[in-house]
Symmetry: C2
Subunit: 409 residues, 2 copies
């Protein structure tokens, strides 16, 4: 994959296209071997094309196809494939229809989008003006797509992936996932020494430390290894025992949602320092509305009093970041929203607000399930954005474990 | 930059390291020419090293340096630089101290982190076990760092960037930013035709469409162009007029915060469909607590009634996604939290919940400032995650414009 655009090289935007494409392609059985980002300058893209064709059969390009002058992918592809531009009537009609629907006047710059490289097969872009361009070069293939995420996703799902699947015979990607807690990364690796000693190609075991725990991924390419994968999976599960809290790559909030739904429980959250991020993670799951009621983001202490019935006295004597306030918050939000489970967090995310006694990174998390309530203190880190993510992960996992233990006992 | 790890190629995690590094490096005057992601296999990294050294003076590597077997960067660098490993006493002492502080036992895998390539200069990694490795190859430079974001960031800020600045004389990056509303991308480009006609190298103008508006970036490398930059900037400002709502690359929520603070106003939010994402964007800003009080995430209709005093009757007759409910929500949250300004959103993010009358993507946004209240309907898109981001951007911008117009009138 080659993602194109100066905005990616100066750090103006995060490259979310490549992770999305990589996930979709891997799930379909394609093997992504490299992802390269280059700027808008044609020479940089030309070099990247040579390098990429030397290592892959399929080259997917995103970006640089807008109507403005800084977008030069089309011109560069003409140079690379040594061809000129030709007018495409269908593309123009599509653009005209699109502009009519949006009720804006067509201008010459947009009309130029109907000029396409002579040697390319043109595939319509249902949701945008820049057509998808498909180039064949012997056994190899290059596809150019827009960099706008929604246009790229529609193109991939509706046009590109179906066509690629027709053109290539795919070997399937075998994969097992494990979410492990209670080990440091190196301690887990030490624990799995004998397992890894007997593990031979094409199997590989990868470690990914996350805020929810260490994610292990056992994988191999090829259907013929399905039986061996079963055996390795059994072996690994035995070694991990109850340290493995999930056999899935799904996020902790999805696992939590499933568990709540199974037991007919409902959830609300009260967030101080995470400022709505826990609610955001949960509501990113489609269908969460059946078990998640909502959140009170009590960023200011006055909101903790007004909406969560935290006592002024508790705030004054214990401070906002304390076991007592976390406990009052979790009880307060469950009462205010009428849910059977609740999560509350209060902490200091930095860079300001720390003290000797309660340094930046100090967090209290209280979780409630029916009559039971637990509260724990944690120390996260120094970086505000990461502290927010980490605290959210910790809080969700704390309730997840509480529910798992309830199931066991 | 080369970011290493199979988890990036199968789409398991988003590459947030490269965007952070690109932003920091650009700000310091370094020019990032390419970012490549490869997997853990040594051969793929070896090829990427050759390609990268052919186009850059400095090569920054992240990832593949953990204590587990899937991490093979160190071994690959030994092959590349044709050297063996040597024991480093200082690294071992640092690791021992780190483990003692964390109160966990040291194991042989972690002890192996003290084995370093003979030809590398070792730089301590204050916050992790894998040392930073600095390789000189003639005039060129390679630095290997951990892929764990917090370790990479600490290493870059405390060790790598200061050393790079000592080693290289830098040309400064001149840049001006503009946030433009009221134009489509192509209409804006048409409007700026004469400006772009006279704009010559080394100046370039880039267009980035975002949910907040179109972001323009005028840039050039080299201090000697500071005067010309001033002139081009004046010219562009004149052409954009009041369509330009900000001369900064900062996000809309930061501009909003500044404006609220200047006028002594406070803000609360009531979120249904965005599920806490607006609150998250706002509370990601350090210091937001001086103007932002909090949010009620009223995901379930019962919460809209209980905490925001939305009338049962309004919900029943108008439906949750309606002008009336948005207006009651915004008044409700301002009253419950005692703020002078408020934002409320209600909508259908999909994939489920749409109807013929109110399809997926339908959104109502109400904003309130003192006595004034406005509400608008929008149609966003089909993708849940993008709809949430887009709606949040729209809602924040709606209040921002309201405040700007208040200032003018």
């Amino acid at each position: 994959m080659i993602t194109i655009g100066d905005e990616l090289l100066i750090g103006q935007i995060t490259n979310t296209n490549s992770v999305w494409m990589a996930r979709e392609l891997t799930a379909e059985g394609f093997r992504v071997v490299a992802i390269t980002t280059v700027g808008d300058a044609p020479d940089d893209l030309l070099k990247a094309l040579d390098t990429a064709f030397a290592r892959a059969d399929i080259l997917l390009l995103t970006g640089g196809v807008g109507p403005t002058r800084d977008d030069r992918t089309k011109e560069t592809l003409c140079r690379y494939f040594n061809c000129g531009l030709t007018f495409n009537q269908e593309v123009l009609q599509h653009i005209e229809a699109l502009f009519e629907r949006r009720k804006i006047a067509l201008n010459p710059l947009t009309r130029d989008q109907a000029m396409v490289p002579e040697v390319a097969t043109v595939i319509p872009n249902r949701v945008g003006t820049a057509p998808l361009l498909w180039f064949q070069r012997g056994e190899q293939l290059l596809v150019s797509m827009p960099g706008v995420p929604s246009e790229m996703r529609t193109a991939m799902q509706e046009e590109i992936i179906p066509r690629l699947k027709q053109s290539f015979r795919l070997s399937s990607y075998q994969r097992r996932d494990y979410l492990v807690t209670g080990f440091s990364e190196s301690a887990l690796a030490a624990h799995l020494t004998s397992f890894e000693d007997q593990l031979a190609a094409p199997f590989s075991l990868a470690y990914l430390p996350t805020y929810e725990g260490i994610r292990l991924r056992l994988s191999a390419w090829g259907e013929e290894h399905a039986g061996a994968m079963e055996r390795q999976d059994r072996l690994l599960r035995e070694l991990l025992g109850s340290h493995c809290i999930s056999y899935s790559a799904r996020r902790a909030e999805e696992l939590l949602g499933e568990m709540l739904m199974e037991r007919g429980l409902t959830l609300s959250t009260a967030e101080s320092c995470t400022g709505g991020y826990i609610a955001h993670l949960i509501t990113s799951i489609s269908g969460a509305s059946s078990w998640y009621m909502g959140s009170v983001v009590a960023y200011d202490n006055s909101i903790k009093e007004k909406l969560l019935q935290v006592k002024k006295e508790t705030l004054a004597t214990q401070g906002a970041v304390s076991r007592e306030v976390a406990e009052e918050m979790v009880r307060g939000v469950a009462a205010a929203t009428g849910t059977s489970c609740a999560i509350a967090v209060t902490g200091i995310m930095g860079p300001d607000g720390g003290s000797r006694e309660k340094p930046v990174g100090s967090v209290w998390v209280a979780t409630l399930c029916r009559q039971e309530l637990i509260a724990h203190a944690y120390i996260v880190g120094n970086n505000r954005a990461q502290n927010i993510e980490r605290t959210a992960g910790i809080a969700i996992t704390q309730l997840l474990r509480m529910l798992q233990q309830e199931a066991v006992s």
